[in-house]
């Protein structure tokens, strides 16, 4: 009988193979008194030196296989073995209490691991695994036991273990290992991160049920969904063999788009950019070959803390992002807070209709001190890359002018202070209100670009709170009314020689992209994982053809009609 387990998908892929169970030897060292304390301390030092030789070898292998970034994990391990809180503390314990080296080290390490595990930061909790990994290695040395190797494998397997240490993962025998499943662990553990670099299917945190799986069981591992099927039926085998083949084809096809330009079948170039919420999202944007960043939400800088971020702090973050993007455009949106997004340290009055209240640019113009701090940080950072500053929630031309006036004042002030500000800095605004969309021709004269924020534009156009489920049927991105708004904005930008982009969910939606292209959108900004599928789709579309089709869609009477029309068209082209 087949049965199903689920865990956390940590590294995507589908594998079908026999299970191989990795048994952990987890003897807990017992307290033993020793006579010669000096000799015992030498014994521990020797074991540590010997463990270092092993780790250094793993570091070199990892450097070769996975590159310098992953090899750094083992540099850190080498460093940990020199850590005074670990080694010196263990040596002191032998010296003081006359206990054996195994016990001293184990006790010291266990206390450190407990302290790390009690942190409220997942990343720090995971570091307990590093301490456990090196400690186990030294204890194995002391006990004269060999650390596990995968040399006995001679057939394709899916590895099952309670947990995999970083050094286990780095040494996986890739000739035979097709994936792994652990009972504990999270997406941020080293083993999960390394699995993603190795492009090895991995599911973590599958729970203790996974311990029932024995070496030799046939297993389907679907690490795209986190499902593990043990002893599958014949039809499941056939089904998953097909899925596996399709998945692998798709991955290969998408990968080929990383370094390609974002260009349509009729040679029209557009920009496919990524949305980020913080520095931690940068890597994904770069890995997916995005043409730039179309929306950097700066709210994260202000949240989860007790004071406003200083100009200096903000400057460091913006500079970092600009430098990482290495000359590609980075659109940074000024603070969009207020209404439903609150800051604990900022007293804002409760509002009846937060979405219609004092938020985003309205709040910034009301609290000029906050706004000026952010603008100064942005202006200073502009010298380090290609920056575009974007104001959210503009409804009136006068709001735009006021925001620009403050920006300009800070710019002049900085220049008088002798600070470099980029001369090619772009200034633009989001189009989120119907007022702005309808006045786009007037606004276009005074900006370098527009970026359409679809979530809010739909909410305000339909007058439907997007948090309220009973009116969620009104959230219709493909409705001709929304498409007409988008068209107005793009036409206004075109007439004034400016560019128009979109940074809402809709920009990455495969059934919206053809229409947006047809309406003449220049820039599409989406979550990083959508960039490659969008680029692939784009390469099959003709802008000329879709501008004709989009014009037809504008005259349809419902979202459903538009969706059917687009999907039929895409199917007939495929």
């Amino acid at each position: 009988m087949s049965h199903l387990l689920t865990g956390v998908p940590a590294s995507p892929g589908i594998a079908i193979a026999k299970a191989y169970r990795l048994e952990m030897e987890e003897s807990i060292p017992q307290r033993e008194e020793i006579e010669d304390r000096a000799a015992e301390m030498r014994r521990l030092k020797k074991a540590i030196e010997s463990a270092k030789v092993d780790i250094d070898r793993i570091r070199e292998q990892t450097l070769e296989r996975l590159g310098p970034q992953k090899a750094e994990i083992f540099e850190a391990h080498l460093f940990l073995l020199d850590d005074p809180e670990l080694t010196d503390a263990a040596l002191a314990r032998i010296d003081r209490e006359g206990v054996c080296a195994e016990f001293a080290l184990y006790e010291v390490a266990a206390a450190i691991m407990d302290a790390l595990r009690s942190m409220d930061n997942e990343m720090l909790r995971e570091r307990a695994a590093d301490v456990g990994d090196i400690t186990r290695r030294v204890i194995n040395k002391l006990e004269g036991r060999a650390h596990h190797m995968f040399s006995e494998l001679n057939d394709e397997v899916i590895l099952f273990a309670k947990d995999l240490t970083p050094s286990d993962t780095a040494q996986l025998n890739m000739d035979y290992i097709r994936g792994f499943v652990t009972e504990i662990g999270s997406r941020t553990s080293h083993s999960a991160i390394m699995a993603r670099s190795l492009e090895l299917a991995a599911v973590v945190g599958a729970g203790s049920d996974a311990s029932q799986i024995r070496t030799g069981d046939t297993v389907i591992l679907d690490a795209t969904s986190g499902e593990i099927i043990v002893n599958p039926s014949r039809s499941q085998m056939e089904d998953y063999s097909e899925r596996k083949r399709k998945y692998e084809d798709d991955v290969l096809r998408m990968k080929s788009y990383v370094d390609r330009p974002s260009v349509t079948a009729d040679e029209v170039h557009v920009e496919l950019a990524g949305n980020i919420g913080g520095i931690e999202d940068l890597e994904k944007v770069l890995d997916n070959g995005a043409d730039g960043i179309g929306l950097f939400r700066t709210e994260f800088l202000y949240m989860g803390r007790s004071t406003f971020p200083s100009e200096e702090e903000q400057y460091s973050v913006y500079k970092h992002v600009l430098e990482k993007m290495n000359g590609k455009r980075v659109v940074i949106r000024t603070l969009d807070i207020g209404g439903d997004k609150e800051l604990t340290y900022m007293q804002l009055p409760q509002e009846m209709n937060p979405f219609l209240g004092l938020r985003a640019i309205r709040l910034c113009l009301d609290r000029e001190d906050l706004f000026r701090t952010q603008l100064r940080a942005l202006l200073r950072a502009s010298a380090h890359g290609k920056l575009a500053i974007m104001f959210p929630m503009i409804s009136l031309l006068s709001e735009l002018r006021e925001a620009k006036r403050i920006l300009n004042e800070e710019r002049i002030r900085l220049e008088q202070e002798g600070v470099m500000v980029a001369s090619d800095l772009e200034v633009g605004m989001m189009i989120e209100t119907p007022a702005a969309a309808l006045a786009a021709d007037l606004l276009a004269e005074e900006v370098d670009f527009f970026s359409i924020g679809t979530n809010d534009l739909i909410q305000y156009t339909m007058a439907a709170d997007r948090m309220n489920e009973s009116v969620s049927y009104l959230y219709q991105p493909h409705h001709p009314v929304i498409l007409r708004m988008v068209q107005l904005v793009i036409q206004a930008a075109d007439r004034h020689g400016k560019w128009a982009g979109m940074c809402g969910e809709m920009a990455g939606d495969a059934s919206a992209i053809p229409l947006l292209l047809g309406l003449g959108l220049h820039e599409f900004s989406m979550s990083a994982s959508s960039v490659l599928p969008a680029r692939e789709l784009l390469s099959r579309l003709s802008r000329q053809e879709w501008s004709r089709l989009a014009a037809e869609a504008l005259n349809m009477s419902s979202q459903q009609e538009v969706l059917d029309f687009v999907n039929n068209q895409l199917r007939s082209e495929a």
């Binding site: 750094e72 540099e75 850190a76 460093f79 940990l80 850590d83 005074p84 809180e85 670990l86 450190i112 302290a115 790390l116 942190m119 409220d120 930061n121 990343m123 720090l124 570091r127 590093d130 301490v131 913080g278 520095i279 931690e280 940068l282 890597e283 994260f300 800088l301 989860g304 803390r305 007790s306 004071t307 971020p309 200083s310 200096e312 702090e313 460091s316 973050v317 970092h320």
Partner: protein, 87 residues
């Protein structure tokens, strides 16, 4: 002895790599290096000690250096606390 409070700005706080770089740098100086967060303290030369402080973005950390070369240590280590580290 020199002592000053710094605000950590890296959005992910002071995790494995920054702790390692910091401790490595601290190691290069003969003086004692201690970090304080609230009522917890850690040896600045120990990456593990730094990790167990659980420093996150926006935290105020007091750096204290005492002994030989303390002025130079203070300058370089203080700067590291307010940097963004390469991921």
């Amino acid at each position: 002895m020199i002592s000053q409070v710094f605000t950590v700005i890296h959005p992910q706080g002071f995790h494995a790599r920054p702790s390692k770089s910091f401790a490595e740098k601290a190691h290069a100086f003969p003086c004692q290096v201690t970090l304080y967060k609230g009522d917890k303290q850690a040896n600045g030369k120990s990456p593990l000690g730094l990790l167990t402080l659980g420093i996150s973005a926006g935290d105020e950390i007091r750096l204290e250096v005492e002994g030989e070369q303390e002025a130079q240590a203070f300058q370089e280590l203080g700067r590291m606390l307010t940097q963004i580290y390469e991921e």
